[in-house]
């Protein structure tokens, strides 16, 4: 149980770290990385949770979820990367324009 708790704590840490970076970092690539780190945090918790069954045989459901989650995260990242390129192409910098929420 303690190991699971440790994993969960690390997962939460990653999630928060990612969230912080997502808000603070201006560079779009860093924002995408931040999102990915948050995702990793969640996946870490999921993987650790598979140990919840008694007798040492891992629960397959969280594993299935992680795999699906990773697939989704990869495609989302791919889309995000293309869009970063497009934004950079049109504005010359990989950041949001300065005037916020206009």
């Amino acid at each position: 149980m303690n190991t699971v708790f440790l994993y969960a704590l690390v997962g939460i840490g990653l999630f928060c770290l990612g969230l912080f970076a997502l808000i603070v970092q201006a560079h779009l690539l860093r924002k995408i990385l931040a999102i990915n780190i948050m995702g990793s945090g969640v996946f870490l918790i999921l993987v650790a949770l598979a140990r919840r069954t008694e007798g040492g045989i891992p629960d397959p459901v969280p594993h299935a979820m992680v795999i699906t989650g990773i697939v989704v995260a990869v495609s989302a990242t791919a889309l995000a990367l293309v869009m970063i390129l497009k934004v950079t192409e049109s504005s010359g910098q990989p950041e949001f324009p300065d005037e916020e929420s206009k």
Binding site: I35, R52, M65, V87
Partner: protein
């Protein structure tokens, strides 16, 4: 085979049809227009078939491949999801008819696959019976929606879509985190099972917080609406229509579903917070809409305001559950039709004048009468004037608020209605006048005008079939049985 009409797995068709349709459009782009239209008509028929089935026989379960929970995927349809599916099909039909002549050839091939994938995700979302599938469909929907929002290819569109993407990814991740915590505590992903096992503990609270925050962000409730107006206003007209009409509603649907089935067991005051934020959204969104000088931005801010009304149902539902929830669902339906009609009409005005500046509209009332009629009829529903679906939902909401003397909410609803009239007639007043600088009008194909009017007419017609639709909402009593009805 002996499969009768009623046994046909319409629910599966609702997912597989647009999925294969989308893939085919991708593979054979030259015929994507026809493929897309045929697919959407098929979806419409399937939704009708499913509707027949559910109205006839009640709640519908389907175990995909014969495997039930916890291993297999289960589909579930009650009155609430049925109505969401039907309104999705209807809006999809209108938007697809519109798109035939809206996009140039090179854009057709990009639009149809994405749009059909989005439709797949929406249908799958409304059919899902477990929270992990909800996550997957939510994410699929978000990605397709973001990709569609970039279709105009302008700088503004890309920046807006990038914001939208970050917001939607963040929202989904928070939701996923919540899902993980729920699974950890209660060992199931099935909503019905969770509903039974759920009990209040610290993990449940954390899950509730994460899921609500994620979904509220995706639904664009004030103050998390920042991404919505630019994304919706800079997308191509049919995409704006779908984003405002369906995509925003899908995340609200999940929130509603989980709140009803699971989280209402928590003893929280979040409903009051939702009501409060909803009220601010109504006033602030309407004022912002009133300030806008461009039609599409005005319509987008109007969505922010209308989303606020949806959240008013939470504080009201504590005492008069069924009435308040029915009002919210009715608002989802009528707003979906009205707002899509409004965006399509705005697209026509943009095509016609080459711009969407309100002050420079040039006698469009006589030159594009059908478009202006569509905008006006949709406006009637948005303002909540009779006869329209918007009126029915406003009536029910007001009734719920007055019965429990919630004067603050009553005031907000009335002020919101007056402000809505102000921003809608700001546009309509200019429809009759001449612009200072006349210009060469663009050609607007008749299908684009009639598609907008079809949807607006639907929003008006909803005002005449309230009894029937309210009866459908209660199939499977998604709002709980035995509650006091007004």
């Amino acid at each position: 085979m002996g499969i009768t009409f009623i046994d046909f797995p319409w629910a599966i068709a609702l997912i597989l049809l647009p999925l294969t349709g989308g893939l085919s459009c991708f593979l054979w782009p030259s015929v994507s227009k026809i493929l897309g239209l045929v697919t959407v008509i098929g979806v419409m028929l399937s939704a009708t078939g499913l509707g027949w089935l559910v109205i006839d026989k009640g709640v519908y379960h389907y175990l995909v491949g014969g495997w039930g929970a916890p291993l297999g995927i289960e589909l579930y349809v009650d009155g609430l999801s049925l109505l969401m599916l039907m309104v999705t099909a209807l809006v999809a039909l209108g938007v697809s008819i519109y798109s035939i002549h809206y996009f140039e050839l090179s854009y057709q091939r990009r639009f149809w696959p994405l749009w059909l994938f989005l439709l797949t995700a929406l249908n799958a979302l409304f059919l899902s019976a477990d929270i992990f599938n909800l996550y997957v469909t939510l994410e699929l929907m978000g990605l397709a929606a973001v990709a569609l929002a970039t279709l105009t290819g302008s700088h503004d569109a890309f920046t807006a879509a990038m914001r939208y993407l970050l917001a939607t990814l963040l929202g989904s991740l928070a939701f996923l985190f919540g899902v993980v915590l729920l699974y950890h505590s209660f060992g199931s992903l099935d909503i019905a099972v969770l509903s039974e096992r759920f009990e209040s503990n610290i993990t449940a609270w954390a899950a509730f917080g994460l899921i609500s925050a994620g979904l509220v962000l995706k639904t664009a409730l004030f103050p998390m609406h920042f991404w919505l107006p630019p994304a919706h206003a800079n997308a191509p007209a049919p995409v704006s229509a779908v984003l405002s009409a369906l995509v925003v509603k899908a995340s609200f649907y999940i929130l509603l579903r989980l709140w009803l089935e699971i989280f209402s067991q928590l003893d929280t005051d979040v409903d009051i917070l939702f009501g409060f934020l909803g009220s601010i959204a109504i006033i602030w969104g309407s004022l912002q809409a009133l300030r806008q000088t461009r039609i599409k931005l005005l319509v987008a801010y109007s969505t922010v305001a209308q989303v606020g009304y949806l959240f008013l149902a939470f504080p009201l539902a504590e005492k008069v559950g069924v009435t308040a929830w029915s009002a919210a669902v009715y608002l989802i339906l009528s707003h979906a039709l009205a707002k899509s009609a409004m965006f399509l009409a705005a697209g026509n005005l943009l095509r016609f004048g080459g711009h969407d500046r309100i002050a420079d509209l040039d006698r469009v009332a006589q030159r594009l009468p059908i478009t202006v009629a569509a905008f006006a009829l949709a406006g009637v529903s948005i303002m909540g004037l009779p006869p329209s679906g918007g009126f029915i939902s406003k009536w029910l909401l007001l009734q719920s608020a007055l019965v429990q003397s919630q004067w603050g909410l009553v005031g907000v609803m009335l002020i919101g209605g007056v402000l809505a009239a102000a921003y809608i007639f700001k546009v309509l007043g200019r429809a009759f006048t001449q612009a200072p600088l006349p210009h060469e009008p663009g050609v607007v194909p008749a299908t684009m005008e009639w598609a907008a009017l079809l949807l607006a007419g639907g929003a008006i017609l909803l005002g005449f079939f309230a009894s029937e639709i309210l009866a459908i909402i209660e199939i499977g009593s998604p709002f709980g049985a035995g509650e006091v009805k007004l």
